[in-house]
């Protein structure tokens, strides 16, 4: 076990993947010499060479488009999009090509491309640098979309994503980059970590379903609720497409109450799907309407008000309260 922050755990996952499989390549803006703006690929260009850790021109569409071509040639590219708000120029290559190529080819082609996206707010960044756009990709058939939430999950999930033969959109919550934890770097890549949600904290009175940056918010809220005598179960979805609804349903059938929490705007955010599925599947177990807590339905604001914009412990607990009202 090694004590690492999340950025370093991701770095370790990239290093292991590069070492294990000569077909793995990293591509992105400033990922080589600089090691990436968050230093996630720090040292890797030196270790594996500029031909495997490629500093690219500033063209997100080309990063993904050429990664597709490299994948067709037998490579396993891992692309970095520098910030969440800069993935949109690559949108066509992702949704019209990366997501569809396997189906379009009748299963003859595989495109094992991983796209890493540092995402979310809470780091006082300038505009376009704090977005939560996971719902776009989760709505896109043919993509796997996952979000890590700790150094350990980051290591295991990134290893699995790179080893996956399907395209994976891999979200890294920026505000968790500096969180530390003991990580077992001996783990081999395990496909199942890309599918399974995890109960981060067991509870009996209400279920909080969340992922990525807001797992911390949920855990903090659960602590406070505990002191007030309320036992919250916290589920980390990890995979946003597909979602591990069985685990979620089992929890909600037990607790009878659910709140879905994320940073993204609620309107057609992941919470809409989760709430719709829970409301459907647990219709006869729910004691109260499923609540959704998320960013407001606004473009991400200037950082001076982001603490008000982002769902926090207070807003989450308020929503939990609402499931007990009436």
């Amino acid at each position: 076990m090694t004590n690492l922050n999340m950025a370093k755990a991701l770095n370790a996952a990239l290093r292991s993947s590069l070492a294990d499989d000569p077909k793995v390549l990293l591509m992105g803006e400033d990922i080589g010499t600089l090691g990436g703006v968050f230093r996630v690929s720090d040292g890797l260009a030196k270790e594996f060479g500029a031909h495997r850790v490629i500093d690219t021109p500033i063209s997100e569409s080309a990063i993904v488009g050429t990664a597709i071509g490299l994948a067709l040639r037998g490579y396993r590219p891992v692309c970095e999009i520098q910030f969440d708000g800069f993935v949109y120029p690559a949108f066509d290559q992702i949704v019209a090509h990366l997501a569809k190529l396997r189906g379009r080819s009748g299963g003859r082609l595989r495109v094992p491309v991983t796209i890493r996206i540092p995402f979310g707010g809470g780091i006082k960044a300038i505009e376009h640098h704090s977005e939560s756009n996971e719902a776009y990709f989760a709505h896109t058939a043919g993509l796997r979309v996952v979000v890590c939430s700790s150094p350990g999950s980051a290591y295991d999930m990134l290893r699995a994503a790179i080893a996956s033969d399907d395209p994976v959109i891999f979200y890294e919550p920026k505000r968790l980059y500096w969180d530390k934890e003991e990580v077992d770097l001996a783990h081999a890549p395990l496909a199942s970590v890309l599918d399974a949600a995890v109960v981060l904290r067991a509870g009996t009175d209400a279920t909080i379903v969340t992922y990525g940056p807001t797992t911390r918010v949920a855990l903090a809220a659960a602590n406070i609720a505990q002191q007030e005598g309320r036992s919250l179960e916290v589920i980390d979805l990890r995979s946003l497409s597909p979602i591990d609804i069985d685990l979620v349903n089992a929890s909600v059938r037990k607790t009878g109450r659910a709140v879905v929490l994320h940073e993204a705007p609620t309107f057609l955010g992941l919470g809409a799907e989760v709430a719709a599925q829970i409301s459907h599947d647990c219709f006869y177990s729910l004691q109260a309407p499923v609540q959704r807590v998320g960013g407001y339905n606004l473009p991400y604001p200037h950082s001076g008000v982001e603490d008000e914009y982002l769902p926090d412990v207070d807003r989450l607990l308020d929503a939990v309260d609402r499931t007990f009202e009436e």
Partner: protein, 363 residues
């Protein structure tokens, strides 16, 4: 003193030709075509004649409701045959969606070519079988796939090159420019084969760009060539030369072949709404197949028996097209559930089972 100004001068290059309009050779007898001229011209002629017949039959099938859509390559056979035959069979090719001549030349079968247009599948051949990717309908995007593939070729230290087809209209997409820039910057062993057929649906070159395409490519640092796209031999010589330079480690190449989309954009298109009949007629007069045939006859490269044999082969192909086409059934929806991911997800499996059960309830 005025500052240094570099005004763009209109490009005055004339496209490179090997045959005159009447088919006579404009180049010396000593020109190196890489193989005997009779062998080469016969191969090219056959490719082109078969493709033309394919087009005619597919067009007819569409009109009879057997195909949902067909995009003709009629008029562009020389640009395609001349280029695909000038690279090695081991060189990987990324077509756009109108490269039927090239596909046939690579050996893609009738049964593999028709499903997309009949609506029975989205693609049917395995790219690795022919080193020829499936068609791409989203304009310009295949340029980036091709550059990526070529980056892989270079990483592998292979002496293959990659060729990618693109149309004049598709060159306006941002992806196309990114592809040119990346090809040059990454030193990717790639040859861009642009078929400038004058039109992008109803949009003529003049509304698509101001400076010629080959000029643009040069501006990105590519080696750039302008060729008469209705002259199969000129295309062949140019691509051969360009491919050799790329293979030898030169800059990526951009070949602009000036040709014409005689057939209109697609079976859904009505080109009379936007183009002159006179323009069409002038290009019909420059038909690349007739031109090559005149050259072969003039130079004694083939006799009537050869042309008769090809014609007969084309008729056989036409009959095959028809019989194969009407027998094509759709790939079932259930296989899409299975093919969307390498391993079907639990969610899709459940959805598929529900779907199959629901469909079953009607049987």
């Amino acid at each position: 003193m005025a500052p240094d100004v570099a005004t763009t001068t209109p490009d005055v290059d004339a496209p490179f030709s090997v045959m005159g309009a009447d088919g006579h050779l404009l180049v010396p007898d000593t020109t190196d075509f890489g193989e005997p001229l009779d062998v080469l011209t016969r191969r090219l002629y056959r490719d082109m004649a078969l493709a033309r017949r394919f087009d005619q039959e597919a067009f007819a099938l569409q009109r009879q409701g057997e195909l949902a859509l067909w995009l003709l390559c009629t008029g562009q056979e020389a640009a395609q045959a001349g280029s695909i035959r000038a690279i090695r069979d081991t060189d990987f090719v990324f077509p756009s969606y109108r490269e039927h001549t090239a596909a046939i030349a690579r050996g893609v079968t009738v049964a593999e070519m028709l499903p997309l247009w009949r609506g029975t599948a989205q693609s049917s051949w395995s790219p690795s079988d022919y080193r020829f990717n499936i068609y791409t309908l989203v304009l310009g995007t295949q340029m980036l796939h091709a550059v990526g593939y070529a980056m892989g070729v270079r990483l592998d230290g292979s002496d293959e090159i990659v060729m990618v087809y693109v149309g004049d209209g598709a060159m306006s997409e941002g992806d196309s420019s990114e592809a040119l820039n990346w090809a040059a910057t990454m030193q990717a062993p790639i040859l861009f084969m642009a078929q400038n057929n004058g039109w992008a649906i109803s949009t003529p070159n003049a509304k698509q760009f101001k400076a010629p395409l080959h000029t643009r490519a040069r501006g990105f640092g590519l080696d750039s060539y302008l060729v008469d796209g209705n002259d199969a031999l000129a295309v062949h010589l140019t691509v051969r030369e360009a491919a050799a330079r790329v293979r030898a480690g030169g800059a990526p190449a951009f070949v602009e072949a000036i040709t014409y989309r005689i057939g209109g954009h697609s079976t859904s298109d009505d080109p009379s709404r936007y183009r002159d009949d006179a323009e069409l007629q002038s290009w019909i007069a420059r038909d690349p197949i007739a031109r090559l045939r005149r050259c072969m006859e003039l130079e004694g490269l083939a006799d009537d028996a050869f042309f008769d044999r090809v014609a007969a082969e084309a008729e056989t192909l036409a009959a095959e097209i028809r019989s194969v086409c009407v027998a094509l059934d759709p790939v079932p929806l259930s296989s899409l559930f299975r093919n969307t991911f390498v391993t079907e997800t639990l969610a899709l499996q459940r959805e598929r089972e529900e779907h199959e059960e629901f469909q079953g309830s009607f049987e």
